[in-house]
């Protein structure tokens, strides 16, 4: 009898707690899902982006949150694998019931997760996944006129535009006659290599080789020896951070000193971990980038300094961090314009009307070519000069004079 009584009390208490939490919901935090690789071989990037999301969230909440309610990010780890990313997006939508997803690091994972978001009609704000088809409705069996049915939005430029900032430097200063392309055998790497081959053709540069590798390779020398034999004027590499470091370290080991330039296509080549792990071999390496803290964007320098202050000198954020921070800014701006109703539909409407300034630059979702809901941006060129990542192109925005020509043999001694 006693047990029964106790149980009844317990049930009543539980019900009250339940009712209570239901009542709280109106004033509780607004939860937005964020899909990032927090473990696995891309965890280095995912961690930087998560840190940036958290920094932005703290600032937003300190300034009053979203119309009085707090903003909260629910993170889901995609481990860098498309199948896990898919499941993660499904969990965010079905279990966490978020009205919107942000994040998306690797191209393959982002594309898989985008299909889920599209299927459930939940807006997905992509901040890094860069393969072109993510914002091409035809990849989702829609047309460019179906903006109202298309739930994917992207802040960062697609991979085919990463090297556009580089074209000026190549055609005006370096004038290479040939290029050897090395890329990771993923969606990001393969598409990036393809579009750079097109760029090269446009600039009259002969493509002497276009070789792929799989991430995590111990020994790149067979590939680099082939490159050395081809004797190109320039080597263009699309790699994540540690492959990038290994490529440059081993290029140094086999004394591959003949190219005028070693160029990275963003991703790994702008990360502090690249410099730390490649050491001397990172010096004077050039890379495409989407952002630099010295650009004349309001808040860019402030974000950079705050990040370094919080996470230490060895953890300088590159464009990946800026992308994440500004994605959080966009999320806050969009939610504020939802008039207190946070459903996928209201959020989508607010996203369509986005026109704001972030630390990453202006954000406005437009359509051009086969793409819709795509933010259009310029890209830039950076170079590792004396261990610091300096903006060198375009020249009028540069914060350092580029080092060219480069004597690799002397650098690598």
């Amino acid at each position: 009898m006693k047990i029964k009584k106790l149980l009844t009390i317990l049930v009543v208490v539980l019900m009250m707690v339940g009712i209570n939490s239901c009542g709280k919901k109106e004033t509780g935090p607004i939860k937005i899902g964020v899909l990032l690789p927090l473990t696995g071989h891309m965890a280095n990037f995912g961690t930087m982006e998560k840190n940036s999301y958290e920094m932005a969230k703290d600032k937003i909440n300190a300034n009053g949150g979203i119309n009085g309610r707090k903003l909260e990010f629910v993170y889901e780890d995609d481990t860098g694998k498309p199948d896990v990313g898919r499941a993660g997006a499904e969990k965010l939508i079905n279990v966490n019931k978020v009205p919107m997803i942000a994040g998306g690091y690797s191209s393959s994972v982002t594309f898989a997760a985008a299909a889920v978001a599209q299927q459930y009609r939940v807006p997905f704000l992509v901040n890094t996944g860069s393969v072109d088809k993510i914002t091409q409705p035809e990849a989702f069996n829609l047309t460019t006129n179906d903006g109202a049915k298309f739930y994917i939005y992207r802040m960062n430029p697609p991979v085919s535009e990463y090297a556009s900032g580089l074209e000026g430097l190549l055609s005006q200063i370096v004038k290479p006659k040939s290029v050897f392309i090395i890329h990771e055998n993923t969606a990001f790497g393969t598409k990036g290599a393809k579009s750079f081959a097109k760029t090269a053709k446009k600039l009259g540069i002969e493509v002497k080789g276009n070789h792929q590798y799989s991430a995590g390779t111990v020994d790149f020398k067979p590939l680099l020896l082939n490159a050395k034999k081809a004797n190109p004027d320039m080597v263009y590499m699309i790699s994540y951070v540690m492959d990038a470091a290994m490529l440059m370290k081993q290029a140094r080991q086999i004394e591959f000193t003949t190219p005028k330039l070693f160029v990275g296509a963003g991703a790994g080549f702008t990360m502090p971990a690249f410099k730390e792990n490649a050491g001397k071999a990172s010096e004077d390496v050039v890379s495409a980038t989407l952002w630099h803290q010295s650009l004349p964007i309001k808040g860019a320098k402030e974000y950079f300094d705050k990040y370094v202050e919080k996470f230490g000198k060895d953890h300088t954020p590159d464009y990946h961090g800026a992308e994440a921070y500004s994605a959080a800014q966009v999320v806050a701006d969009v939610l504020k314009r939802c008039n207190g109703k946070y459903t996928p539909e209201t959020i989508k409407k607010a996203l369509d009307a986005t026109n704001m300034m972030t630390v990453f630059g202006p954000v406005k979702f437009t359509s051009y070519g086969k793409k819709i809901h795509q933010n259009k941006m310029n890209t830039y060129v950076v170079q590792w000069i004396n261990g610091n990542l300096k903006l060198i192109w375009p020249e009028d925005l540069a914060n350092a004079k580029f080092v060219y020509p480069i004597d690799w043999a002397a650098n690598w001694k």
Binding site: N44, N185, Y213, G216, P222, M242, A245, K249
Partner: protein, 291 residues
Amino acid sequence: MELFLQTLIYGLLIGGLYAVIGIGMTLIMGVLGIINLAHGQIMMVGMYLAWVFWTFMGIDPYLSLFLAVPLVFLLGIFLSKYFLQPLIEKESILPENQVLMTVGIGMVLVELARFIFTSDYKSVETSYSSETIALGNISISLPMLIAFVIAIALTLGLFQLLMKTDLGRSIRATAQDKDAATLMGISSKKITILTYGIGSGLVGAAGILLLPMYYLYPDVGPIFTIKAFVITILGGLGSPIGAIAGGIVLGVAETFGATYISMGYRDAVGLVIFLLVLVFLPGGLKQVLKI
């Protein structure tokens, strides 16, 4: 010709290292009868130990072999005594459950490493990390050569242990027939625990040899677990000599595939050989070598 020779040498060098990674798994396979899916993760522990010794005490990675490998050996003993042995003793539990246990052990090790060291990439930059030795027109990276020499020494040492000592004979006997060995007065429990320790120590050593030329992060293990698995099958389950041959064959085949077909298919070359061996040579290289 020069490219061919260079490819061959690189293949052999990396193959030597693969052999050490594979031998540990093959030993464990022979005695415990399970695939140790925590193999790469145990290697990761060895690498982190060597990294800690290098960063905080300035001990050269090759010297730290003497410090880190015994620690990894003890870790292996601990894991097998308290996590695997209890499963072996219960007859009702299938051997598959021990394999699942190794998966669990692997996950815990990775997350512990992430908790302590975060997901940042670490590497050990010694004065000789990027040194090369010129041999005619062929340049060989010094850490790779040292790793190869030490790998050979480790393998020879293991052979002495297996062939010439009582412990080695007991291990071989247990691998051949556990019940008969027990009847002959060998404590199969002790041998099982020790073998897991030795296997762990070996792969830990392989990780430390790899450290000066590679890099380190909590998820570095799985790639090498798969490599070790392929080598174990290639060589023939449970055969140390087979594993050495398997490691070298894998190293050479991968490097030739990388040079002459495409770097992107490097792993595919290894896996195609793996499939061919399974289909045409189910007993592995041990069948050809007759050992």
